[in-house]
């Protein structure tokens, strides 16, 4: 029987799952992702995680707790940096420890560090380190990594064209034959694609006939370019994606409004949203709304605010 490796469905799951899955499968492991977030997982998360962590970290704890008895290994990579000279967020770097000391009875953790701060080449070393858990044959690891990289490129291109990760990973989809206004949604992937914690936002928009554009649909070049306006380089890749895509959405005339989701206690967002708001207010005249999510967010008030935002867009268009 092959080894079962669990991957909690949280944090950057929707960014790197195809890569991790293919890589581990090629090495002969069976990959077990946790199911999409549900009430039980969220409750487990808020029970085991420390109080003042942000929502995605809590959700991640829930997934880890849910998976722990079902697998032989658990993959919690330490994503210190995934773009040279940029970090993601300190919590990504300390994630294996946060989970390790909060959840009891975990299976063996695969907490390989991925740190491309100095150079992208460091990834190769990390992959060899990860691969040696399953095989001693370096050629096999190399081949698995190549196949995984190819899979990841296909996935990224799909997202770029406007597909949603859920179609690729779970085979479900949101209808896209809409003719309504175009809304830009600038937020982190762990809030955007987790339909439980964002109250089914994408479905709700789609059912109202609204088209949306997401940060993953923008090319890296565009985001990079928009962030050039700052004197100081943005040293968080998560913040850069957010600011870059929001500024693009402000500038693009086809986009009728911008919606931002943030989780309570998100450090990066507290800065970047303020920057976006201040720049947006000064230069552009577009409907813009921030919704803060946490584990107590209720469906009804979420709907009310979403409706108000959509009404605003409608009214602008009518005038």
């Amino acid at each position: 029987m092959s080894v079962r490796v669990g991957i909690p469905r949280g944090m950057y799951f929707y960014k790197f799952y195809p890569f991790a899955k293919r890589f581990l499968m090629e090495l002969g492991a069976e990959v077990v992702p946790s199911p999409p977030t549900n009430k039980e997982i969220l409750n487990l998360g808020s029970r085991f995680c420390i109080d003042d962590a942000c929502l995605p970290v809590k959700v991640y704890h829930g997934h880890a707790e849910y998976l722990k008895d079902k697998v032989d290994y658990m993959l919690i990579p330490r994503l210190t940096s995934i773009v040279p000279r940029e970090y993601i967020c300190p919590k990504f770097g300390g994630l294996p420890e946060m989970v390790k000391y909060s959840v009891d009875g975990l299976p063996e953790l695969i907490d390989v560090e991925i740190n491309m701060y100095k150079s992208r080449k460091n990834l190769i070393n990390s992959l060899y380190k990860l691969g040696t858990i399953f095989t001693k044959n370096p050629y096999k690891i190399k081949k698995a990594a190549d196949k995984a990289a190819r899979e990841q490129i296909i996935y990224d291109n799909c997202l770029l064209k406007g597909e949603l990760p859920c179609k690729y990973i779970d085979g479900t989809d949101v209808s896209k034959n809409n003719s309504g206004p175009l809304v830009g949604i600038a937020t982190h992937p762990y809030l955007l694609y987790d339909s439980f914690i964002n109250m089914n936002l994408l479905d709700k928009l789609s059912n109202r006939g609204i088209k949306f554009i997401l940060p993953e649909m923008l090319e890296e070049k565009i985001i990079e370019e928009k962030c050039q306006i700052f004197e100081k380089r943005m040293f968080w890749s998560s913040g850069k994606d957010l600011i870059g895509s929001a500024l693009y959405m402000f500038e693009n005339n086809n986009i009728d409004g911008i919606l931002m989701l943030t989780s309570f206690g998100c450090g990066i967002d507290s800065l970047s949203i303020e920057i976006i708001q201040r720049l947006g207010k000064k230069k552009y005249n577009k409907p813009f709304m921030v919704i803060t999510l946490d584990e107590h967010t209720g469906d009804a008030n979420f709907n009310t605010r979403l409706e108000a935002f959509l009404d605003l867009i409608d009214r602008r268009q009518a005038n």
Binding site: D52, V57, Y101, E113, E274
Partner: protein
């Protein structure tokens, strides 16, 4: 040019001394009060950490007092501190203040920019600059010593008010003292005043180490004078990070090509093997170090939402178990109430004291 900078604990004393020596006029923001914090919090983003709000309040007060240039250090680490400067600049501009902001990023972010910034500050870089810098570092060392004396004297003396008085006088006088020499003398005089107080030398107070986020532990306003409160209850406190430590590890050691924070990194390694930003490794390393040095309890203080300290907060319970040392976790923000804070510190003090008494009985 009239320069201003945030307090950063006692760093303002050393920085002021240095600029005095270099002949640059500096305006120290009035000591932080509720009002400072309220002014800062009003203009700050809601979810940002407490130091940002206090600093912004400090700047506003300084600008009102006539400052026209703000100087702060920057960083490009994963902690939010690195982006304080650019955002604060944006906010101050939006508020209609016309100030120049000099952000000293580490030289590795671009040596040209760094030298340019230094030029803007002090004209030419000469041996005089170097001497002023070294003298300022010595002032830091002296402040550290003054604090150590205060930690020693406070629990042992009966007249706590006198200690407060001496420190208060020092804080008033230091604003008018000029240059490293005068300030050093003032610090020495204050130290002697403290040592002249009547103390109970046989007393064996419990020892509490303070760990956590650097700004909130070195700035007494942001932690509601936790050191003073614990000292007055009768505990000998020790603060894990000081301005001198910061300067030593970030400025002096790299120049000497020594490894900064060697001890802390070694001790924290079993719990967190890599640097993730902020002072997580230092916080954990100090926690282990205090436990090994026989401290009775630890207090971790950090601002609400601090990203690196949330990671240490989730690891500390393991250290608590491994080394059998109680830890009190205090999270501060602009909503922190004084009474609740005092109650928790008192409860913690009582618990630690009872625990150490029991331990001593078992040993004897």
């Amino acid at each position: 040019m009239r320069l201003t900078y945030p307090h950063m604990g006692e760093a303002y004393i050393a920085v002021k001394a240095m600029f005095d020596d270099l002949g640059i006029e500096s305006i120290i923001p009035p000591y932080s009060t509720e009002n400072t914090l309220r002014m800062g919090a009003k203009e700050s983003p809601e979810g940002i950490c407490l130091p940002f709000k206090i600093m912004l309040g400090n700047y506003i007060k300084s600008i009102e007092a006539g400052a026209d240039t703000i100087v702060i250090t920057g960083s490009c680490g994963p902690c939010r501190f690195g982006y304080y400067g650019p955002l604060q600049k944006l906010i101050l501009q939006d508020m209609g203040y016309d100030v120049d902001m000099i952000i000293l990023d580490p030289p590795k972010e671009g040596i040209g920019k760094f030298i340019n910034n230094l030029r803007k500050l002090g004209g030419k870089i000469s041996s005089k600059t170097y001497k002023a810098f070294i003298d300022a570092y010595k002032v830091c060392e002296k402040i550290d010593e003054l604090n150590q004396v205060q930690y020693y004297v406070r629990p042992r003396t009966k007249d706590k008010a006198k200690v407060n008085n001496i420190i208060h006088n020092f804080k008033t006088k230091v604003l008018t003292a000029k240059g490293t020499k005068e300030i050093s003398e003032l610090i020495d005089a204050t130290k002697n005043q403290l040592l002249a107080l009547d103390i109970d030398k046989d007393m064996n107070p419990i020892k509490i180490g303070i760990i956590g986020e650097i700004y909130t532990i070195i700035d007494p306003f942001s932690n509601l004078n936790a050191e003073e409160r614990l000292g007055n209850m009768g505990a000998e406190v020790h603060r894990s990070m000081t301005v001198k430590d910061w300067a030593e590890n970030n400025l002096i050691k790299p120049l000497r090509r020594e490894i900064p924070y060697e001890l802390e990194k070694r001790l924290s390694k079993p719990y967190l093997p890599v640097l993730i930003g902020g002072h997580t490794q230092q916080c954990l390393g100090h926690a282990v170090n205090y436990a090994l040095s026989g401290y009775d309890g630890l207090v971790q203080i950090y601002p609400m939402g601090c990203m690196p300290e949330i990671v240490s907060r989730s690891i500390l319970p393991q250290i608590e178990k491994d080394y059998d040392i109680p830890i009190l976790y205090l999270i501060v923000d602009e909503q922190t109430g004084e009474a609740g804070y005092q109650t928790r510190l008192e409860a913690f003090y009582d618990y630690v004291e009872a625990r150490s008494c029991r331990r001593q009985t078992i040993i004897s």
